[in-house]
């Protein structure tokens, strides 16, 4: 290599290096992820009558009835209390809870004689998966079903077992068509529920709630409000 070419090479490398170093110093430090995780809350009508949920701050109202017993999950601020009110037009039940980052909170209204009561169940899921369906069983049926399970009808397969009252279990399953039936203390209870064809990536919840006779179950898609 001739001397002038060597100089040219050295100068080129030096220039490039200086450029890179100057450039590296200029790279801003962007946040990688938020300062804290998201959190969500939803409301469920576990009674036999229509209920409204009114937000404490905005007074926005959602009606939950037999056709739509579950609200969407609403993103919430974790630095303060979430307040609101369930009401059936005659009696009301004030809502107040705190939700931590990463939590998905479910506030369920249940009949308590002629009044309303609430059960709050929280989960921190880590099973996010767009290739599978995620299904949860919430046992809110109180003394009527102290140990709940869920059977796949016609397949003698148990999806959930021993879900204690006031608790939930969640699992990933293949996105297939399913019909299920509640079990209470291993005994099939109530009507068969057709879930239809589950979608990959979708999250679902089944709620077992008390009735005058025996516990019943209903089904909701876990949707985030945008």
């Amino acid at each position: 290599m001739k001397l002038n070419k060597i100089y040219a090479y050295v100068i080129a490398v030096t220039t490039s290096s200086v450029g890179c170093l100057t450039h590296a110093a200029d790279i801003n430090l962007y946040p990688t992820g938020p300062s804290q995780d998201s959190a969500f809350v939803r409301f469920i009508n576990g009674t036999d009558t229509s209920l409204s949920v009114t937000a404490g701050g905005s007074k926005a109202k959602v009606v939950l009835d037999a056709n739509q017993p579950a609200s969407k999950y609403y993103p919430v601020n974790t630095k303060g209390s979430i307040t609101g009110e369930f009401s059936d037009g005659k009696v009301s039940s004030p809502i107040s809870l705190n939700v931590k980052p990463s939590e998905f909170a479910t506030v369920v209204a249940l009949a308590n004689g002629s009044n309303l009561k609430q059960v709050i169940v929280k989960e921190q899921p880590d099973d996010f998966n767009a290739l599978k369906s995620s299904l949860a069983l919430y046992n809110l049926s109180s003394a009527g079903c102290t140990s709940a399970g869920l059977l796949v009808v016609d397949r003698s397969v148990s999806l959930f077992e021993k879900v204690q009252s006031g608790a939930l279990q969640r699992r990933l399953i293949n996105p297939v068509s399913l019909s299920v039936q509640l079990t209470c203390n291993t005994k099939p209870t109530g009507k068969v529920l057709d879930l239809g064809l589950l979608q990959a990536g979708q999250r679902y919840s089944i709620f077992a709630v008390p009735t005058a006779d025996s516990p019943r179950i209903f089904f909701a898609t876990d949707t985030i409000a945008r």
Partner: protein
């Protein structure tokens, strides 16, 4: 890689800082895809996460490029554009997403609920336009040399982030960048952003993976 394997296809490539600064990924990746016969629209936005492409979000820097033309850089006036606006304008057959490092929460607890919501919102939005999409996950970093590991990118977390994306980007096809090199193989300036040689290797490997997607030639709209 046979020449012009992507002829007739239009690509929209969006991404984070890797796609935004001089001598980064935008030039070699769009050059490689263009050599394969694709028409390529590239848009970069520094620090943008998946959810930032669902609204106009101001960012500290950005760039855009058509094919192998001149890169147009943006400074403090840079912002993202809603993905549906980009798709409507560019009419791509394939959207390529280069996002991972901005969502990995390096140096702090991983925000899984936030990441899941952001990723699925973007993939659903793209799916609603019936456009094929490819998600390119984060590559390995290194100790950062003179400037240190500014972002706190660790091998454990980048592996976790890659696994998370692999499980959650469907219906997009996932390209695992961790398979393209060994940890610390491609030198960086700051633990995360590569020197030009690293970006050239990454761009070439991404292009090869796209060419190898079985149904890629059938996605022409």
């Amino acid at each position: 890689m046979s020449a012009a394997s992507l002829i007739g296809l239009t690509f929209l490539v969006i991404g984070e800082s890797h796609m935004s600064l001089p001598n980064f990924l935008m030039e070699p990746l769009s050059d490689d895809l263009t050599k394969q016969g694709a028409l390529v629209y590239s848009v970069g936005a520094c620090g943008a996460s998946a959810g930032d492409w669902l609204k106009k979000t101001p960012v500290s820097c950005g760039a855009w490029r058509t094919g192998n033309g001149e890169v147009v850089r943006k400074g403090r006036d840079a912002s993202t554009t809603h993905i549906k606006e980009l798709i409507a304008a560019d009419k791509p057959d394939v959207v390529v997403i280069i996002i991972g490092d901005t969502m990995a929460s390096y140096g702090k607890p991983f925000s899984q609920a936030w990441a899941w919501e952001n990723v699925t919102n973007l993939t659903k939005e793209i799916a609603s336009t019936k456009t094929k999409c490819v998600w390119v996950g984060p590559p390995w970093g290194d100790d950062g040399g003179r400037y240190g590991n500014k972002f706190g990118k660790t091998e454990n977390r980048v592996q976790f982030m890659s696994n998370f994306l692999a499980n959650n980007v469907s219906p997009c096809t996932y390209i695992d960048s961790l398979k393209f090199s060994k940890p610390k193989q491609w030198p960086t300036l700051d633990g995360q952003h590569f020197t030009l040689a690293g970006y050239q290797a990454w761009g070439s490997a991404i292009t090869q993976s796209i060419v190898n997607i079985p149904d890629i030639k059938q996605v022409k709209k």
